[in-house]
Amino acid sequence: MPVYVDISRCIGCRSCEVACKRVHGGKGHVNVHMAGDHASVPVFCHHCEEATCTMACFTGALYKDGERTAFDVEKCTGCGLCRLACPFGVVWSDKIAHKCDLCAGRETPTCILSCPANALSTDFELASRRARTRAAMAAAHGGRR
């Protein structure tokens, strides 16, 4: 259940970055990437099915817990291999590793609640459902003007 992005809605306001940092003791786990002058996309932990960070972690500090890529701080040695292994640049290691924990202990991840544009959700289908609605409405109205 990772956080999915509806890129057509992201407004690059960086609310998710600041919110994430706020609830994780000053260490955020989101990067809002500006794609030139025309779009932005927040990059989150994908909670990969075959997570390379868990494969690289030799102590088992990073491990798969169902859909979640979980992290056990007790086992972390701070070697930084996970940071090198993550293809999206969303595992950090300063002294010890830190990454998205989907806001463990909270019902909904903070970034989703905070997003002003409603661009984030845990519903994989949401973005495509919205796009289909938009297309259907446009067709019904004879195309977007």
């Binding site: 809605r9 690059g12 600041v18 609640l113 002003p116 003007r145």
Partner: protein
């Protein structure tokens, strides 16, 4: 551990988002969202998320200070009040009240603004204003004149019902971020989004039709749209006949604004103008949103009137999904204006130049005579101080040194004052100029009401105590008033609100008891009234219930690019900073994301000047110079540069030319040049 959740209203923009502050052992420890909030649905922008960072900042003012030969000395509240009696009271006696100025704060609560305005007028001074002068003064003038009420006509969530959202001169995606969720919702339901802006802003990403106009040509564009709508017969004939006056004059006034001619003036392709006009007029419900890009011009009032004209001829007022929506920048700038902290209005927009108004309030306040007539505006006070006509000032929560145009001029003017008292939460550039500085409480340290941009009046609670000896603005102002011989006996904000209920008709029914939830939207005249989310649904509060269509003609901006100053500088905000930046620049998680002043330059212009991305450049205008980091981009067109005004420097460059009616400076168009920094 016992944890209490205290609901407060966000201290940043005017959207009026609420959130809970969690308090443990009398310390604010975190934020919890409020999904049931009607406007934000619990969302917060980056600034809202970082708002607690300023609460315990080391720079907070903790004690009253007085200026000494070599710096600042801590003094007691008692001594501070004595100095104020001597300085402010002395100037009142020696020079008369008309030579004393008061600046109220659009960051303070309604109750505090009401008291500051009452203080000024009870002391006999007409010179009371707030920073709405620098943002929405043209809306107050222009919308009162055309529609009979200034303020957003429809609430924020109602945007979702719109079938065409026209955004002009507002970068709401960055500055009022939560609005984007409603616009996205409208888009999913098939709405067309039109954005007009000199920059390809984040807001423009949402647009179906993007009109990139030259700064300062808004009237030409809006008249061009009206021209197309009239020519193609897309007007709402019934609405015009029933509810407006002045349509024939408009037809005459816009007949020369053909899309081709407007295209020449604005740089927007004629086809796009036609497409936008059709989209706006054909849609069953269209809303116009605008902000500083419309108002901060020497033609600000004209711009606002041109917008109102567009809504009136297409009948887009008084129903869901439609409306004219000025987006307010500060959390309580709407409230500060409602409370009469304006040179031309007493509370409730009662005209200051009407003797009846003065009679009404002198009866209500139990004061003999109150000043009649329009006072000096915020910018005029600074000018008057420079000329020696204003001798003393009391500035609450404002930073004209950073926020007024032509900072060097402001500096010289404030220096000439005999006495200046500044009340703020940080030692701002303006406070540095003061004789006495008073430490104030921030939003979470006091209670009271704030009025959001959608006219929603919300009660914000006190979560924690102010640091050191800092006190709420309400207590300080009452104390100052009592020391100056007035009788301000208000135990708390609720007592002031009760007086507001009595004297401001729009707030008549907005009592403390009714404000425990998500607030009420004014006008709300009596205790049983549910509030009025949509204005003008039963006609207009003008003669015969008709709105006035006020034709305007395009006038060029005061400055244009020239041989010596070849670029047009336009200013604005970025997502992670707010206004003069005294709060956001002290917020670690915000300042690290946008640490310094930058200037956006078109890549082609930069290539010609041999400037690379990240170079330190010198930006110079007729009024001053500042250095900034070059940011190469295609967001701005050739010949246009953009700088945010959160850092001191930008407003050294801007022009002090003002709108003749609303007196707002033209922040959005100044000629400048860019050179290498040696």
């Amino acid at each position: 551990m016992p944890q209490v959740l205290v609901p407060t209203v966000c201290p940043y923009c005017g959207a009026g988002c609420q959130f809970f502050i969690s308090v443990e052992k009398e310390r604010a420890t975190g934020i919890e969202y409020m999904p049931e909030h009607p406007a934000s649905e619990g969302a917060l922008c980056s600034k809202g998320n970082a708002s607690l960072e300023v609460l315990y900042h080391q720079d907070r003012l903790r004690y009253p200070l007085k200026k000494t030969g070599d710096g600042w000395a801590r003094i007691s509240w008692h001594e501070a009040q004595e100095l104020i009696v001597r300085g402010l009271g002395g100037a009142l006696k020696k020079f008369g009240p008309e030579r004393v100025g008061f600046l109220s704060s659009s960051k303070c609560t309604n109750e505090e603004n009401y008291l500051i305005e009452k203080l000024a007028r009870c002391l006999g001074s007409k010179n009371i204003d707030n920073c709405a002068r620098l943002c929405h003064a043209p809306s107050v003038v222009g919308l009162n004149r055309t529609l009979g009420a200034a303020g957003m006509t429809n609430p924020i969530p109602d945007l979702a019902n719109s079938k065409c959202v026209f955004i002009i001169g507002s970068n709401l995606a960055e500055n009022h971020a939560i609005l984007s969720r409603w616009i996205n919702r409208a888009k999913d339901e098939g709405a067309v989004v039109i954005v007009a802006d000199p920059r390809m802003t984040h807001t423009a990403w949402m647009a179906d039709i993007f009109l990139q106009l030259k700064p300062g040509t808004d009237v030409a564009l809006l008249n061009g749209l009206a021209h197309v709508i009239i020519k193609e017969g897309l007007i709402d004939k019934d609405y015009i006949a029933k509810l407006t006056r002045g349509y024939d004059e408009l037809v005459e006034a816009v007949k020369d604004y053909s899309p081709e001619k407007v295209s020449e003036i604005t740089g927007v392709p004629a086809d796009d103008i036609i497409r936008a006009a059709r989209a706006y007029a054909i849609s069953p419900t269209s809303a116009i949103l605008y902000s500083m890009g419309i108002t901060q011009h020497c033609t600000g009032t004209d711009n606002v009137q041109a917008i109102a004209n567009l809504a009136l001829i297409s009948g887009n007022l008084g129903k869901p999904g439609s409306g004219v929506m000025p987006l307010r920048g500060q959390n309580n700038v709407q409230g500060a204006c409602d409370m009469g902290a304006l040179a031309e209005f007493y509370p409730g927009y009662k005209k200051a130049d009407d003797p009846e108004t003065a009679r009404f309030f002198s009866a209500g306040w139990g004061r003999g005579s109150l000043p009649v007539g329009r006072g000096l505006t915020a910018t005029e006070m600074i000018d008057a101080a420079g000329k020696g006509d204003i001798k003393a000032m009391y500035i609450v929560g404002e930073d004209p040194m950073n926020s007024d145009p032509s900072s060097n001029h402001t500096h010289d003017a404030l220096e000439k004052l005999d006495f200046l008292v500044v009340q703020d939460i940080f030692m701002t550039a303006t406070a540095q100029m003061a004789d006495v500085v008073l430490p104030a409480a921030v939003w979470a340290e006091k209670e009271g009401t704030y009025t959001s941009t959608e006219r929603r009046v919300q009660w914000s609670r006190k979560a924690v105590s102010p640091p050191g000896e800092a006190r709420s603005d309400l207590e300080i102002v009452c104390d100052v008033a009592n020391h100056l011989g007035l009788d301000f006996d208000y135990p708390d904000a609720a007592a002031v609100l009760a007086e507001i209920n009595r004297l401001v008709p729009q707030y008549g029914g907005i009592t403390r008891e009714r404000l425990d939830g998500m607030g009420l939207i004014w006008p709300c005249p009596d205790k049983d009234h549910p509030g009025t989310p949509i204005l003008h649904s039963l006609g207009f509060k003008l003669q015969d219930g008709r709105a006035s269509i006020m034709p305007v003609q395009y006038r060029a901006a005061a400055e244009n690019a020239s041989w010596d100053y070849p670029f047009i500088l336009t200013t604005g905000r970025v997502a992670v900073h707010h206004n003069a930046g005294s709060m956001t620049r002290r917020s670690p998680s915000l300042i690290e994301r946008e640490p310094e002043l930058f200037v956006e330059i078109n890549t082609n212009d930069a290539a010609r000047l041999k400037i690379a991305d990240g170079d330190e450049v010198l930006v110079t205008s007729l009024r001053g110079e500042t250095s900034a980091r070059a940011r190469l981009t295609d967001k701005v067109k050739k010949g246009v540069v953009f700088m945010p005004f959160h850092f001191s420097g930008t407003n050294k460059l801007t022009t002090e030319v003002t709108d003749p009616e609303a007196r707002i400076p033209e922040f959005k168009v100044s000629a400048c040049k860019i050179s290498w920094r040696d």
